[in-house]
């Protein structure tokens, strides 16, 4: 605590070392040179990135979590013997209880405040730097061209006070996401626009020489041109009224007009999930069938055992199922998808609102799934693999492209990821993938002899290779379609068991980044698999060579 102000002062420019004197250090007045990313160097004015802080009320919001967690644990502990506890809830004991709560709250808020002090981040032209940690300090740097997705998350409490968390997803596995919590809603959106624009390969227009002229027209007009070119939406961009500046005690409003900002990219809505459909679809899912079964079973047990207590054995299972149904509804509520030059933008969530932005070329694979209960209305659940969203240990809430898609919306979802499927009639092809069997739509089906190893589903097994992607189709009762763009193929494999070998069939596996989609087709003719192995490696190679660059806006400039 004591050394923090000093350390902070180290990072300010020598000339303007005192935070309160920042009005003199606006970019217009100090045309400084190149980006510096080392934290020990004095920060340069905004166009090269300066150190920013989270919103000062962050500790107040994060501190509550500690208190709630402690109370929840305590509540869980005492819930067994309520009688004993109620005897203690008066006089001195109550005082002690309140005292402990206050201490916990103080510790929680105090720690959060320290953490807030220690947290600062900086955005340069090609990287984000984040410094965190109270006891053990951590400095992380993320290259913007490796950015996989940007999420704006608003947990319930933060949402009430107009704050949000900005999450930068990177492909480093668990814990690789950068979490910037909490920022004002406007700041978070503006920062997202800025990060995406930089990640796309656009630049803040400011070279050293032109730094003085940055103020308003330069960057925003270049942004407008590039974005227009990419969308051909013709909307144009407004010249960024709100600058992406984090309100912090050290900054003053004098910064705002001078900061070059990227406006949020224009977006076009593609589909929206009506709430009634989500509720109906969740009711029709396997989980609710199990809920009904569980209730019936527990009632039957209770009746048979003539003891109402016997019914409670099913309670944990029931709770689990209810939790699952709730999370489906909570996450799928008001699900909307839009397309923008920054990529796919998904908005969803009932209590916790989440806005995801997945830039072009970041979706590694998609799958469409349909259980038997969704057959009638022809609903599909569309999921995707994005390298940054790989959390193996938790319930996936960010890899859903559409929770309950109608047939047309499912096709639209595929179109979002792959505007060009590489076939003359994408609708017919997808239709064949979703509903067809045998060689409908040009699919290569499993041979008839595969019925010995898969008597029910063998007619659905099939694969289709288009110019742009590989489409697999499987499952008769639980239908499944997977689409993998050729340039996103990681590695490929073939497997063959003894029975398959006798029948001359083999399974084809395509390895994608971690996520809900694991593309594979079982029981194809082994000659087909051999050809696939041979050609797919080649196709993936050529597709990668011609694929767009990581910085998706630089496409035109790269030969």
């Amino acid at each position: 605590m004591s050394d923090a102000p000093q350390e902070h002062a180290d990072r300010l420019p020598a000339a303007t070392a005192v935070p309160t004197s920042t009005p003199t250090s606006t970019p217009t007045s100090t045309p400084t040179s190149t980006p510096t990313s080392t934290p020990t160097n004095p920060p340069v004015p905004y166009e090269d990135g300066h150190w920013r802080r989270m919103h000062p009320t962050t500790p107040a919001i994060k501190g509550w979590k500690v208190l709630v967690a402690v109370v929840a644990v305590a509540g869980y502990q005492v819930s067994d013997n309520i009688d004993d506890v109620s005897g203690l809830m008066h006089g001195r004991w109550l005082l002690a209880f309140v005292g402990v709560l206050v201490v916990v709250a103080l510790v929680g808020f105090g720690y959060s405040a320290l953490a807030w002090r220690a947290t600062r981040f900086q955005v340069t032209d090609d990287a984000v730097h984040l410094h965190t940690g109270v006891l053990s300090r951590q400095q992380r740097q993320a290259r913007l061209d490796r950015l996989q997705a940007v999420d704006v998350v608003q947990p319930l409490l933060a949402r009430l006070v107009g704050l949000s968390e900005l999450k930068l997803e990177l492909a480093g596995g668990n814990g690789s996401a950068f979490s910037l919590a909490y920022l004002r809603d406007d700041d978070a959106t503006a920062l997202r626009a800025e990060l995406l624009a930089l990640a796309a390969g656009l630049h803040r227009d400011a070279g050293p020489a032109t730094a003085g002229a940055v103020a308003t027209t330069g960057p925003s007009s270049s942004t407008t041109v590039a974005l227009d070119e990419a969308t051909s939406a013709g909307d144009g961009l407004l010249g960024a009224p709100g600058a992406p500046q984090v309100a912090s005690p050290t900054s003053t409003p004098a910064h705002a007009p001078a900061l070059p900002a990227f406006a949020d990219a224009p977006e076009r809505p593609v589909y929206e999930l009506p709430m009634p459909r989500l509720l109906l679809a969740t009711l029709r899912s396997g989980a609710s069938v199990f809920v009904v079964l569980a209730i019936t079973a527990s009632a039957a047990i209770a009746v048979a055992a003539r003891d109402i207590g016997a019914a409670f054995v099913m309670i944990p299972m029931l709770l689990g199922l209810v939790g699952f149904v709730w999370s489906r509804i909570n996450q799928g509520a008001s699900f909307r998808a839009a397309i923008s030059p920054d990529g796919i933008r998904l908005r969803h969530g009932l209590t916790e609102a989440r806005t995801q932005t997945v830039p072009p070329g970041r979706v590694q694979a998609i799958s469409l799934g349909q259980g038997p209960w969704w057959r009638g209305p022809d609903w599909w659940r569309v999921e995707m693999n994005v390298a940054g969203y790989a959390h193996a240990d938790k319930q996936q809430d960010d890899t859903v492209l559409h929770p309950v898609a109608s047939r047309d919306e499912a096709m639209a979802a595929v179109w979002l990821v792959l505007p060009d499927l590489g076939v003359p009639d994408p609708q017919a092809t997808l239709d064949a993938a979703m509903h067809g069997r045998d060689d409908d739509g040009g699919f290569t089906p499993a041979p008839r002899r595969a019925r010995w190893v898969d008597p029910i589903g063998w007619r659905r097994h099939g694969v289709l290779v288009t110019d742009r992607a590989l489409i697999t189709r499987s499952g008769r009762i639980f239908r499944r379609v997977e689409v993998v763009p050729h340039e996103r193929t990681q590695s490929i494999g073939a497997e063959q068991g003894p029975l398959q070998r006798r029948l001359g069939i083999a399974s084809f596996v395509l390895h994608s980044t971690p996520g809900p989609v694991r593309p594979s087709v079982a029981h194809l003719d082994q000659a087909v698999v051999a050809a696939l192995l041979d050609e797919q490696a080649e196709r993936a190679r050529t597709a990668r060579a011609s694929a767009g660059p990581e910085q998706w806006m630089t496409r035109r400039e790269v030969p």
Partner: protein
């Protein structure tokens, strides 16, 4: 051409037979101890039936040693111009094709037993955890050569995700 596990234009490299020795050592260490314990118990108690599990465990160890020998002979790899092929298994066969450009990093590992037999493992990692591209049983110099070769080829064909 109809054989997916034997592409026509490929010459397979077999791994070192010393891998079988290393694995046999492992089997002997684990199952040998179990068998020894059972034999000691059988001799000490004089109960005839204790010999039955001892014999069963010994038979299982011999069987797995035999399988291991076959598996090691079936484990092979091939470097093509743009990708690495790894093939394994006889009953349940597997073939993995890993493009060099998809490689994220290479691991070379050698445990105490492997070092004793002068072999090492090379594992390729792509962005997909499903890629099981491990080549066990390479002589250290071959492992080092393969590692460098893979690294340089990966660099030449570098791509993002």
């Amino acid at each position: 051409m109809s054989e997916p596990f034997d592409p026509t234009d490929v010459t397979w490299n077999h791994v070192s037979p010393r891998l079988a020795h290393a694995r046999w050592t492992g089997i002997a260490l684990v199952w040998g101890v179990v068998v020894a314990c059972l034999v000691v118990v059988a001799v000490a108690t004089g109960a005839a039936w204790v010999w039955v599990p001892a014999a069963l465990v010994a038979a299982f160890a011999v069987w797995s040693a035999w399988i291991t020998g076959r598996q090691v002979r079936a484990l092979m790899y091939a470097e093509r111009a743009d990708d690495l092929l790894i093939r394994r298994g006889i009953m349940f066969r597997q073939l993995v094709v890993v493009p060099y450009g998809r490689m994220q990093y290479v691991d070379v590992t050698a445990g105490p037993v492997a070092r004793r037999f002068g072999i090492a493992s090379v594992q390729l990692h792509t962005a997909s955890p499903a890629t099981t591209a491990t080549i066990d049983g390479l002589p250290p110099e071959e492992a080092a050569r393969l590692r460098d070769r893979l690294a340089s080829r990966g660099e030449a064909r570098l791509a993002g995700l």
